[in-house]
């Protein structure tokens, strides 16, 4: 403190002799040091008062008293500054914790896209915030079936992420069981309804593809309808299914439907983040997506997903408003 006092006095004396920009600049650099050393505002004023006293020994006591007054009222200001600094430290701690949680989530929810000779599969899932509210879960028993669950938790951030891990474990336990879409949705609905807060809902599209029979069986719980392209008719069909969101009521039945996939047919499963660019005037988002998919139809399923994401990100000026997930099953 003594050292700082001496330095400050010199800088102030220089300025009082010569009111140059250079001297002001030196003063500002000096205050940076004081902030680093956590010198509070009231201490700065006290340092100033002593410096003035030394430079002008004849100064009136009224002026000196005015500094005492300033010290007194700056105590609160100093407290605010210290509180602010401590909150910044806490914020940094939270940020670090959040990064760890994000890493854990992405490790937990990591899904490899299955490789199946008879079916081309692609996926892109990009979170809008750190934690992803969308989740894609694949099941593949090599020879017979490839199944996929495309999930969107209503609600974002940490609560959604916690809910998501539960969905993942629910799906994991069903791995070797009967994986009919209606059965899977009914079981998950019961789990979520029992264990999650009333304000938390999950939408899910569940589809399972019979590799030998080329049959795609699907069901949906309040999820954005998947899009089916029939290449022989050159037509798109919305895979509507009026299932209730998971977690609303305990005993809900979910219907399942079957489609026979032919060469070049594909199924596009999305979350509502994909159709969430309604601000773009009178474009119907689902039509935009269908058109895009047709443009890219000669690419691999993975490239189709990536191109769609790139195009939509561009269309919305990089302001996608929700987690974005596209999965494509292409025959």
């Amino acid at each position: 403190m003594k050292e700082l006092q001496i330095q400050y006095k010199k800088i102030l004396a220089d300025y009082l002799k010569n009111q140059t920009e250079r001297n002001l600049y030196i003063g500002q650099n000096f205050i940076r040091q004081l902030i680093q050393k956590k010198v509070t505002p009231e201490e700065v004023i006290s340092i100033h008062k002593h410096a003035v006293e030394q430079i002008y020994p004849d100064i009136t006591s009224e002026i000196l008293n005015s500094f005492d007054f300033l010290i007194e009222i700056m105590v609160h200001f100093g407290l605010t500054v210290q509180e602010h600094q401590s909150l910044l430290v806490q914020q940094e701690e939270l940020r670090i914790e959040m990064n760890v949680a994000t890493k854990i989530q992405s490790m937990l929810l990591k899904t490899a896209i299955p490789k199946v000779n008879e079916l081309d599969i692609g996926m892109v899932s990009i979170p809008i915030r750190k934690m992803n509210g969308d989740y894609v879960h694949f099941l593949n028993d090599e020879q017979h079936y490839v199944s996929v669950a495309v999930t969107d938790v209503v609600g974002k951030g940490v609560p959604a992420a916690l809910c998501m891990s539960m969905v993942k474990y629910g799906l994991d336990t069903l791995e070797y069981a009967n994986n009919n879409p209606s059965y899977v949705l009914e079981v998950l609905n019961r789990i979520i309804e029992k264990s999650v807060d009333d304000s938390m809902f999950v939408s899910m599209f569940y589809g399972t593809y019979d590799i030998k029979g080329n049959i795609f069986t699907y069901g949906s719980a309040g999820h954005e309808p998947a899009i089916y392209y029939n290449s022989r008719d050159q037509k798109f069909y919305d895979l509507e299914s009026r299932g209730l969101l998971l977690g609303v009521m305990s005993e809900v039945k979910y219907r399942q439907y079957k489609i026979h996939l032919e060469e070049n047919d594909f199924i596009l499963m999305i979350t509502d983040g994909v159709t969430d660019f309604r601000k773009q005037g009178d474009l119907d988002p689902r039509n935009v997506i269908k058109e895009l998919a047709l443009n890219y139809i000669n690419l691999s399923a993975q490239e189709m997903c990536e191109r769609m994401y790139a195009y939509l990100k561009d269309l919305t000026d990089f302001n996608l408003e929700d987690d974005f997930t596209v999965v494509i099953f292409k025959k």
Binding site: D68, I71, E72, V75, H76, S86, L87
Partner: protein
């Protein structure tokens, strides 16, 4: 954290009206000056007293502020004890969190008081009252 040998007799100020806060401040400042605290430290001690007295005035209908000199080996200081029979503090950890009381503009809050001093101790029982001891050494 809070200890020391008491040298002088205590001075006590009852806090009933807002002006009693000023009396407590004055007493604390005089004492701090006699002990040998500098201007900035005097201002801090007085602010801490002010905050505790204000808490009594605002949240407990009555209470008192006790100011005393303390001494340890080659060490002098001041101790302020705020005693009230108010509602008590339900969650001490919560009131010691930054941003909890200050966000409502209620003042420095207890974390602020703690920062102004070297030591702080809170004893509280819901429905019975609160005793807060703070100390500062030269």
């Amino acid at each position: 954290m809070v200890g020391g040998i008491i040298l002088n007799s205590k001075s006590t100020v009852e806090i009933i009206t807002e002006w009693d806060i000023v009396v407590a401040r004055q007493l604390g400042r005089n004492e701090a000056k006699i002990i040998g605290f500098g201007t900035v430290e005097q201002a801090r001690i007085t602010t801490a007293i002010s905050e505790l007295a204000r808490n009594i005035y605002l949240y407990a209908s009555a209470g008192e502020i006790v100011i005393e000199r303390i001494e340890e080996v080659e060490k002098y200081g001041i101790r302020i004890t705020a005693i009230d029979k108010g509602p008590g503090i339900d969650n001490v950890r919560k009131v010691m969190e930054d941003g909890y009381s200050t966000s409502g503009g209620l003042g420095a809050g207890l974390p602020g008081v703690k920062r102004l001093m070297d030591g702080m101790e809170i004893q509280t029982t819901v429905g019975k009252g609160t005793i807060i001891k703070i100390e500062k050494w030269i």
